[in-house]
């Protein structure tokens, strides 16, 4: 039996798809989301058991090529120094994310004006401000109002405790007179809207068994379903189909049984992340869109941006109780955010403090760094490292370059025979300089905090958490894929709402901004219903 046509069809139930679904449900038409992954269960998350670290490196690895679960598609990562990371389920990558929740700063939307590089966004911080605030309430954000690095905003919940590790690091920044602030975190510092507060399990990045971390399956999706939005899981969209006039008319997808299904819709919304979205658009070729859907500019899949990360780990003489508490959420620093010509590179970076590693991760890091041998010296070396590390991540602003791409791999395919994405990415000289600067400054901060030694990973491979730029927004159809409202220039009833539409990457984690943008796009559709739904 054919599927009933729907008003709005969203592809992907992650951070952006969920926020959009909740908002667009107000429109009063039917809303359906197709998601290739399943619903997750908190009782299945690794921290329910002793083997939580082993499972975090296997079936809960952030790398789909390692996990190889039925919901995953492979990614060719042979031509990039940074592995793209993601999770495929209702909640998307927020199932595994660290929930460090900075917003982009106002300056991040005006890079060209400020520094003469890349481009300005067609929208600004002020436009997104109300949506940042709604999003903070929906996700449940803990933080301390008044960070001088940002326009004033009030997180709905008090900040998470810094713990001994966070206090230690913050004192280092204080000593140097450098900016630091408790992170805005999408983790509950106390009970909120029926969800329990954080109990410091530690590795948020394998899923939160407590439900204190805001993955969108337990935040937006609950509320969206109450408004009548439907989620169909185990459904992998193969391509978006089009009408004779080139506008979208639905999708072809494989259902849970592997059967090819057709779903018609008046409006199609793509929320598959910075890798999955260009993959789907490029795979949606038709006579009307011979180079892939919405690709008349040729920019679908181009300008891929990550945040190249350096990891600088301080070794301390005293225990830091660092394994306890949300791993990625304690403090941030914007001391080196924005451009300073004397540094020899444009734009800048933030620091995100990371709490200590678990017992097994400590042993593995020690082994990789040649600090913990096997055999006789193992236990003594281990004791010098365990619970004595604190890490600063330098999150550098990646500038858009057309040569950094997501393309369709000519050979690699997923379990349904759909071409897999191939990532081709080269680290720019500017990023290289920024990373080197970040390493030296992080060493200073850690030393000021009391570290007696440091371990440096100058460019983390396993850090492709942030996927941006591959269907950028702009006002000119020749140089962008979607307009300032997320609407494809080439198909007025096609919208893109994930990090693909970012013009630049900022130097902070992107998800707060991704979701604010998704809410903004939904809101502008609600305000322009006639023009969007108008039949050809």
């Amino acid at each position: 039996m054919p599927n009933e046509p729907v008003g709005v069809l969203i592809i992907g139930a992650g951070a952006s798809g969920a926020a959009f679904a909740w908002s667009i449900a107000d429109i009063g038409t039917s809303v359906l989301c197709l998601e290739q992954g399943p619903w997750m269960k908190q009782k299945d998350y690794p921290t329910n058991g002793l083997a939580f670290e082993a499972r975090g490196m296997g079936e809960f690895s952030p790398n789909p090529n390692v996990r190889q679960l039925p919901a995953d598609y492979p990614v060719n990562e042979t031509e990039t120094p940074i592995s793209p990371l993601m999770f495929n389920a209702v909640g998307g990558s927020t199932i595994l994310w660290a929930a460090h929740f900075p917003r982009f700063t106002p300056g991040d939307f005006r890079v060209k004006t400020q520094d003469g590089v890349a481009d300005d966004w067609p929208i600004d911080y002020e436009t997104l401000e109300p949506f940042f605030a709604i999003n903070d309430r929906m996700m449940g954000v803990s933080g301390l109002a008044g960070d001088p690095a940002y326009p004033y905003h009030e997180p709905p919940l008090p900040p998470l405790p810094l713990g001994r590790l966070g206090n230690t690091l913050a004192r280092g920044f204080e000593k140097l007179g450098w900016h630091w602030w408790p992170s805005d975190s999408a983790i509950l510092s106390r009970e909120y809207e029926g969800r329990a507060g954080c109990i410091n399990l530690g590795p948020c990045t394998t899923g939160c068994a407590q439900g204190a971390k805001a993955s969108t399956d337990i935040t937006y999706w609950i509320a969206a379903q109450r408004k009548g939005v439907q989620v169909r899981t185990g459904c992998r969209v193969r391509e978006i189909t089009v009408r004779a006039d080139g506008t979208a008319d639905g999708v072809l997808y494989y259902d849970e049984e592997g059967q090819l299904q057709e779903q018609k819709a008046e409006v199609v919304v793509v929320a598959c992340n910075g890798i999955g979205t260009p993959r789907l658009l490029l795979n949606s070729r038709s006579p009307q869109h011979p180079n892939g859907l919405a690709n008349s500019s040729g920019l679908v899949g181009k300008n891929l941006m990550h945040h190249p990360y350096a990891m600088i780990t301080g070794i301390f003489e005293e225990p830091l109780q660092g394994r306890r508490g949300p791993i990625g959420c304690s403090i941030w620093s914007h001391q080196f955010y924005g451009s300073d010509p004397s540094r020899g590179f444009v734009r800048g970076y933030s620091f995100e403090a990371v709490r200590g590693l678990g017992p097994a991760q400590t042993a593995l890091l020690g082994m990789m760094q040649g600090r913990i041998p096997w055999g006789a010296g193992h236990h003594d070396a281990y004791a010098r490292l365990y619970d004595r590390t604190a890490t600063l991540l330098a999150i550098t602003e990646d500038l858009p370059e057309e040569t950094n791409t997501v393309t369709l791999d000519p050979e690699l395919k997923d379990s349904h025979g759909i071409p897999a994405p191939k990532v081709t990415y080269r680290l720019s000289e500017n990023s290289r300089k920024m990373l080197a600067h970040g390493v030296e400054r992080a060493k200073e901060a850690l030393t000021a905090a009391g570290a007696v030694d440091t371990i440096v990973d100058p460019l983390m491979r396993g850090a492709g958490w942030h996927l941006m730029g591959t269907a950028r927004m702009g006002t000119d159809p020749k140089t962008s894929v979607v307009n300032e409202r997320g609407q494809a220039h080439d198909a007025r009833n096609l919208f893109i709402i994930d990090g693909s539409i970012f013009v630049t990457a900022g130097g902070v984690n992107p998800t707060s901004t991704i979701q604010a943008l998704a809410l903004y796009v939904a809101d502008s559709i609600k305000k322009n219903v006639e023009s969007v739904f108008e039949q050809p």
């Binding site: 998350y45 921290t47 329910n48 058991g49 002793l50 083997a51 939580f52 670290e53 082993a54 490196m57 301390l144 109002a145 008044g146 960070d147 001088p148 940002y150 326009p151 004033y152 900040p159 405790p161 810094l162 713990g163 001994r164 966070g166 206090n167 913050a170 004192r171 204080e174 602030w181 408790p182 109990i199 410091n200 399990l201 530690g202 590795p203 068994a209 407590q210 225990p319 109780q321 394994r323 306890r324 508490g325 678990g358 017992p359 097994a360 400590t362 042993a363 593995l364 082994m367 096997w374 055999g375 006789a376 193992h378 236990h379 281990y382 004791a383 365990y386 619970d387």
Partner: protein, 150 residues
């Protein structure tokens, strides 16, 4: 004699090798990896690792062969010093042996309740009890209050 079986499925052999990789601590606090009954976890993981598995198996076979060359009763019959020599030689000639082994041994070892207790951690899963952490230092908060944007 146990050494006629494939090295990964020979529990006594694997236990003895694991005990060389993580030997008991000198003060008796830290157990040796071969005494915890975790060899089956390591063996199962190695068996399904398409990349590292064959390299580990080749390395362990080298250990086994070298041991039998020294003593027909195999690795478990060797003295501790001889076991170490044999494993060191195999690690030298099979560079991925140790990488592959510890990739699975460390997570299994450091998840064992006895080991957790020995490193000062409660020997339980993080959930549901969770952990307490120190509150934010009030002096630090005072400093932030002075600098905060109104």
């Amino acid at each position: 004699m146990s050494d006629s079986r494939t090295p990964v499925s020979d529990e006594a052999f694997l236990d003895a090798v694991l005990d060389v990789v993580i030997p008991p601590g000198g003060d008796g606090r830290m157990p040796g990896a071969g005494t915890l009954g975790i060899e089956s976890i390591v063996a199962a993981a190695v068996a399904v690792d398409a990349m590292l598995g064959p390299l580990v198996r080749a390395g362990l076979s080298a250990v086994q062969e070298a041991a039998v060359a020294r003593d027909p009763n195999g690795f478990t019959a060797l003295t501790p010093a001889a076991r170490l020599e044999v494993v060191e030689a195999a690690a030298e000639s099979h560079p991925f042996l140790m990488l592959g082994l510890v990739r699975y041994l460390y997570p299994a070892y450091y998840a064992h309740p006895r080991v957790l207790a020995a490193i000062g951690e409660p020997p339980r899963a993080p959930f549901p009890e969770g952990y307490e952490i120190e509150p934010t230092d009030p002096l630090l908060l005072e400093g932030l209050q002075r600098r905060r944007r109104a």
